[in-house]
Amino acid sequence: MPVILGSESYDLWLNEDCRSADLKDLLVPFTADAMTSHAVSYDVNNTKTDDERLLRPVEPNIGVTLSLF
C-alpha cells in the first residue's frame, strides 16, 4: 500500500539533512480509520479513461470486502 504522510511530517521528509533512521519512522501504514473504500468499474484498467465516472461505486464481482490494512 502507498505510504501516506501526515502534514506534520512534510518538513522532516523534505529536509535534505534528515537521515535514514528518522525517515523510516515516518514510513508507516496510514490510520485505516480515516479512510474508506468501495469497488469500482473495470474501466479504470484502461489508462486512457480519465473521468469522474471511474469513482462510482459498483457491486464487487468477487463477493468479499477488501481490507487494506
Binding site: M1, P2, I4, L5, Y10, L14, T36, V44, T47, D50
Partner: protein, 150 residues
C-alpha cells in the same frame, strides 16, 4: 503496490512555502497512471517547488530508461536503485485517492480508496535524474509498505 491514483480536487491541496505554484492550471485527474508526468513537491535548498516528474523512477546510473513505480519501505535504504534517492532526493506526491486491485483467481476487482472526508493527502516519494546521449528524464516513485509488496 500503488499503480493508479487520483487528484480530482487539485484546488484543495495546500502546501506551505511553495514558489511558482499555480493550482489553477491543474485539471482534475481520475486515473493517473505510470509513465505519466505527475505533480510532486520537492525541496531545492531553501526553496520548495511544485514540479511534474515522470512516474517510474529511473536510477541515474541505469543503462536503460526503465522506470520503477514503487519503492518498498522495507528495502528502500538497501536497494541500489533507491538508497541514494532515499537519502538525498525525497518528494511529496499530492493525491486524494488511489486504486488497488484485489485478485481472486482470474478476476481482479478494482477498489477506490480515499479519506472519509475526501480531503487531499501526500504520498511519500523519491526521485532521480537520468541522462543519456543528451536526453534527460527526471522521474519518481511512490513508497509502499507491507511485506507483500517486496
Amino acid at each position: 503496490m500503488c499503480g493508479r491514483f487520483t487528484l480530482k480536487t487539485p484546488e484543495r491541496i495546500r502546501f506551505d512555502r511553495i514558489t511558482e505554484y499555480d493550482v489553477e492550471n491543474l485539471v482534475p485527474r481520475y486515473n493517473i497512471a505510470p509513465s505519466q508526468d505527475i505533480l510532486t513537491i520537492l525541496q531545492r535548498g531553501e526553496q520548495r517547488e511544485a514540479t511534474f516528474l515522470q512516474w517510474g523512477l529511473i536510477p541515474s546510473w541505469s543503462k536503460e530508461a526503465k522506470g520503477i513505480i514503487n519503492a518498498c519501505v522495507e528495502t528502500i535504504d538497501q536497494k541500489p536503485s533507491f538508497s541514494d534517492s532515499f537519502q538525498r532526493r525525497r518528494c511529496l506526491i499530492p493525491a486524494d485517492g488511489f486504486y488497488e486491485w484485489e485478485r481472486h483467481g482470474k478476476i481482479s476487482q478494482p477498489y477506490y480508496f480515499q479519506m472519509k472526508d475526501e480531503s487531499p493527502f501526500a504520498f511519500a516519494g523519491i526521485w532521480d535524474r537520468w541522462q543519456s546521449n543528451g536526453s534527460a528524464i527526471t522521474s519518481c516513485a511512490i513508497i509502499t509498505t507491507t511485506a507483500n509488496d517486496c
